[in-house]
């Protein structure tokens, strides 16, 4: 387990102390925040299958923390963000979460990266009454029913990452309108929640667009030899192959399918939406489509600033995961500002933060952001396609409701 401890130090506190509090909301006793530290913890997949996504989330978060601390913090309080790796493993994710909540006494958590880990971590945070904000999990039953099959809504769990329930049907609809495919085969890693949920959504949706699903092929995510599964798919000669997996698996499937001579269209889920996967797939992945919650060229007010700051800091373009991580910190910062924290009563502060999160209303690189009544997100979707060179091109924009 890799431990990365990032202490974003308050150069700002000195500045603030000298110049008095900058801007910010009035009404609450802002002075009681001065010099205090808001401890946040992020559980991310820096290693393992999710490592193609985790570091981007981390970069986005760190950028936001740095910017906020440098411009006066949260009414004078600085954010101390600790990022810990869960190695893309569910059990380890739960252990890290428990340590952060109990031993480290973080005010709130972000993450985990993978929906599979969220199954363990979110109910734990809920039962230990700690607010947790998911920044990349898009599976079903994440919010509000984190304790599915129990339908009681989880009060402490939120997410800013658009769910597959919206994204996948939008993607399929967009391609169906363009090319009118007739048949498809689904390849799904059945021991991963994200992949499995995506598969379920595909199965439930394809009929509506006139696509007949010939077969669902399940495999285990740890399996290195995927060729028999790909052969099974290719031998059925479908128009479309749906790949709902994440990490290195989509690229492997695409490369193998092209090698076996299949020329059809790949349609995927959130797992496609990062440059690493596009680069791994290379020429085999060219034209593979997915729906993304963010596009680098979007025209929302705070996006351009975010993109240029990210490029300046990390010398590369941000992606959807970076944008969602960045927005996650912005959400928590806004809630913390209005929550009237005492910094002495941890349990009480966590409750106050939770309540304040429900009324967040900010501008973010994802667009104007508010939680729905289910602590979920509602926003436009961008259908993107891999360009064969490690990047993406925009295909369609689909407005949110």
């Amino acid at each position: 387990m890799k431990r990365l401890r990032l202490v974003c130090v308050a150069v700002a506190t000195i500045v603030v102390a000298a110049c008095g509090s900058t801007g910010g909301s009035s009404g609450t006793s802002t002075n009681s925040y001065a010099g205090k530290v808001i401890k946040l913890g992020a559980i991310l997949s820096i290693t393992g299958a999710g490592s193609v996504y985790g570091p981007q989330s981390q970069n986005g978060m760190m950028l936001a923390v740095k910017q906020i601390n440098a411009s006066g913090g949260i009414n004078g309080a600085t954010i101390d963000l600790t990022v810990k790796d869960d190695a893309s493993d569910k059990a380890q994710s739960a252990q890290v979460a428990q340590t952060m909540i109990q031993a480290d006494q973080d005010l709130a958590l972000l993450g985990p990266t993978l929906s599979n880990s969220a199954v363990a971590v979110h109910p734990l945070a809920e039962s230990l009454k700690t607010p947790i904000l998911a920044v990349s999990t898009t599976g079903i039953n994440i919010v509000p029913d984190c304790n599915f099959p129990d339908t009681t809504p989880c009060k402490y769990v939120f997410r800013d990452s658009l769910g597959e329930q919206t994204a996948i049907p939008d993607n399929i609809q967009s391609y169906a309108n363009d090319a009118h495919p007739k048949t498809g085969v689904l390849l799904v890693a059945q021991d991963d929640k994200f992949s499995s949920d995506g598969g379920t959504i595909v199965q439930n949706t394809v009929g509506q667009y006139g696509i007949s699903l010939l077969k669902t092929i399940k495999f285990n995510k740890a399996e290195a030899d995927l060729s028999p599964y790909v052969t099974q798919a290719v031998q059925l000669k479908p128009d479309v192959i749906f790949i709902t997996s994440l990490g290195g698996i989509p690229a492997k499937i695409m490369t193998e399918a092209r090698k076996q001579g299949w020329q059809g269209q790949f349609l995927g889920g959130n797992g496609f939406n990062t440059a690493t996967v596009s680069a791994q797939a290379g020429a085999a992945g060219k034209g593979a489509r997915s729906a993304s919650a963010w596009y680098i060229g979007n025209t929302f007010p705070s996006n351009a600033g975010f993109v240029s700051a990210y490029k300046a800091e990390y010398s590369k373009d941000p992606d959807q995961f970076a944008a969602q991580g960045y927005t996650g910190i912005e959400i928590l910062a806004d809630a913390a500002k209005r929550a009237n924290l005492t910094f002495t009563d941890l349990a009480g502060d966590r409750d106050k933060l939770r309540a304040a999160m429900e009324t967040v209303n900010i501008q973010s690189p994802l667009g104007p952001f508010q939680f729905t009544s289910s602590h979920d997100v509602n926003q436009p979707v961008w259908v993107i396609a891999m360009d064969g060179n490690g990047g993406f091109t925009l295909v369609h924009e689909i407005k949110g409701s």
Partner: protein, 306 residues
């Protein structure tokens, strides 16, 4: 080392902020005792994770579908694990040594990959959610269970069963010729170990909000970890594996300075102990438990510690 500092200077605070860690130590202790029982009787069985899975899934399924209270589900899981122990033990106990080990590994993986992964009712690859989990509340039950299990194992190892087991592990054929019903006593040890493992599995499932057929939960990796408890601690005395479990579970905290290299430290420890002190930390017999009759005896002056 500030981990220990807190332990001694602020026990209540330590308890509150490390409840889940303490619970895990309790469960690992029960698993270690399950390992003790089989190793003490001369059987290298790595089947514990399979029985854990049975205990865990049974109790979670009962909670999900029949809404039974926690204790009932765990009890049912334990009993089922015992029954499966009999079924698996019957064909498998004819095998000896490394063949028994491989057969038990085969059982564990066949159960995990063949059965659990393919049954819709067990949630296939995703496992099951466990909404009735109670991570903080379960601690008392776990600690009490741990003490009871260790006590039971200790009494048994001192009594007639224990003597029979010791005789069997020294030399099965000689034991047979002394009139000891070897097959029956081996089965008793195997089933007892299965029951303990099933019990630990059920308890552990109620600490987590999920059960899933992952390799680190119910696979070979787990089996190796449990074996490590017994090896490091020494399996000649009931407290040996327990000490081993304590040591291994706390290893990342004790050697926090090792940071990411903790596995290298663990591996090095394993080699060092098996070479230089094969009787384990606690000693009294240690790995001498698995010694075939034709293997040359250790030197008469071999050190034995108490």
């Amino acid at each position: 080392m500030d981990f220990f500092f807190q332990l001694f200077s602020d026990p209540v605070g330590f308890w509150n902020s490390h409840t889940l860690l303490i619970a895990q130590i309790g469960i690992n202790g029960i698993l270690a005792t399950s390992m003790f029982v089989v190793l003490f009787s001369g059987q290298l069985s790595l089947a514990a994770p399979g029985f854990m899975a049975v205990g865990a899934y049974t109790s979670v399924l009962m909670g999900l579908y029949w809404h039974t209270p926690l204790a009932f589900g765990i009890a049912a899981g334990t009993v089922l694990a015992g029954v499966l122990g009999i079924l698996v033990g019957l064909p498998v106990l004819r095998l000896r040594g490394v063949f028994l080990a491989i057969a038990t590994i085969g059982f564990v993986e066949a159960l995990r990959l063949g059965v659990i992964l393919n049954l819709p009712i067990t949630g296939e690859g995703l496992g099951l959610k466990n909404p009735s989990a109670d991570p903080l509340g379960g601690i008392n039950l776990i600690l009490v269970s741990f003490v009871v299990v260790v006590f039971v194992a200790w009494r048994l190892s001192k009594g007639r069963l224990g003597h029979a087991w010791a005789a069997i592990r020294q030399d099965e054929i000689a034991a047979l010729s002394q009139g000891i019903h070897v097959a029956r006593y081996k089965m008793i040890a195997f089933v007892l170990s299965a029951v303990m493992a099933g019990f630990a599995g059920g308890l552990e499932a109620h600490l987590n909000f999920f059960v899933d057929p992952g390799d680190t939960q119910y696979g070979v990796t787990r089996a190796v970890q449990i074996l490590t408890f017994a090896v490091l601690g020494g399996s000649g005395f009931v407290l040996g594996p327990v000490v081993g479990a304590l040591f291994v579970t706390l290893l990342p905290w004790i050697f926090a300075a090792a940071g990411p290299y903790i596995n290298i430290v663990s591996g090095a420890f394993l080699i060092a102990i098996i070479v230089f002190r094969p009787q384990g930390i606690v000693g009294r017999g240690g790995l001498a438990v698995i010694r075939p009759s034709w293997w040359p005896r250790a030197r008469a002056s071999a050190p034995s510690t108490g």
